[in-house]
Amino acid sequence: MTDTTEDPSLFEAPTEGEQERMVEAILFASADPISLRELADRMPHGCEPGRAIDTLQKRYEGRGFRLVKVGDAWAFRTAPDLAYLMQKETVEVRKLSRAAIETLAIVAYHQPVTRAEIEEIRGVSVSRGTLDQLIEMDWIKLGRRKMTPGRPVTFLVTQEFLDHFGLESARDLPGIKELRAAGLLDNRLPPGREVTGNQDDDEDEDDDDQVEMFDED
């Protein structure tokens, strides 16, 4: 204890239990961690916050919040394993962008297809972000590299894609004819481009790959 030349009764330190309550209250309400020194300054003469801290640290062990040391100061903090309670998750469903849908459609109808081929078919460049997004959604994945100069990577649709769209395989995608029949395709195809079966003529060169690909499935 401290030097008590003064009237001892007047400066008698509060009981240990009382000191614990004080430390509890001060640490609870403080906006910052508090050092032992500051605790002692704020508590009545003769208090020993260090002992109270020890007791409290044990007391709150395993509770919803704990007494933790931050530098040379003390603070109550939420138990780390309960941090998830401090989050509120909301899921927002958004429509895929037009660029992403078109890219996805091209991959689905033309797989395996390289980025350059997608750009050629769409007529505009395909941003890295769009492909990343589709990969992240687990709707497209990287396929084998193509045996052409530069050995570009190809893209394929995934099982997840088939599941989402209720397809057994990418072959089940409605063909051009059906699209037309469904009124989704108007007859404004450029002259000289006949619709032959499932695919257009110009995709013939892809056919080999595609067959291979479908056989794999």
């Binding site: 906006a31 401090m86 899921v91 895929l96």
Partner: protein, 263 residues
Amino acid sequence: MSDLFEEDKMSVSDRIAAEALIVDVGSFEGPLDLLLTLARTQKVDLRQISMLALAEQYLAFVEKARELRLELAADYLVMASWLAFLKSRLLLPPDPTEDGPSGEELAAHLAFQLERLQAMRDSAAKLMARDQKGRDFFVRGIPEDVERVRTVRYTATLLDLMQGYARIRTRDDFRPFVFDREHVDTLERALERMRPLIGYAREWTQLAQYMPDGWEQDKMRTRSSTAATFAAALELAKEGRIDIRQGETFAPIQIRRKNRTDD
């Protein structure tokens, strides 16, 4: 005469109190407040107060205020005339031919109003005397905000997919499969080219300098890369990384690095 009589009835301290009331007239919160203050000078329980005496006190107060040419708000005068009416009702024997509440009923209601106001004042005092948040008890000093984790899930339907594909296949500017990409500069490429360079553009520099080397030789390439470079410049401006200016229509476009610390 009656004024004198009133004054005589008052003790010296009452009279001083009455004078103080007059001087303080601005501090009353309306006639009911004044009545309550006057009632307290009767030094009896509010329930035993003489409404007649109170009415007379009030009327005397208003009279005194008039003598001193103090401006009294209209509602004090309305109350005065009502109290004069109450007084007459209380003093005169009830007129059986007249309808309406008796003097006693009116007095009882006034007593109720005074008691109610007093009760609310006492309650307000008790309320304010309670332990208050931020003064007597305290909230958690380091609250943790509930973090809203928003996950965006993208979705599309088979119809979207088919419409998307159909859209590509029927585009008016349907492109041949063997499209010459060699002469196309894309926004992405232009951005890739410009990003590492703009850091050096402390001064205004011509946008044209950022076109790929040698592309100005070919008309098609020039057109494509002009568009791509310009789009890239817009993108960079949107990101707040550069400023763009053009002296006049068709003048060369210039860009300059934006110094973030400036703004």
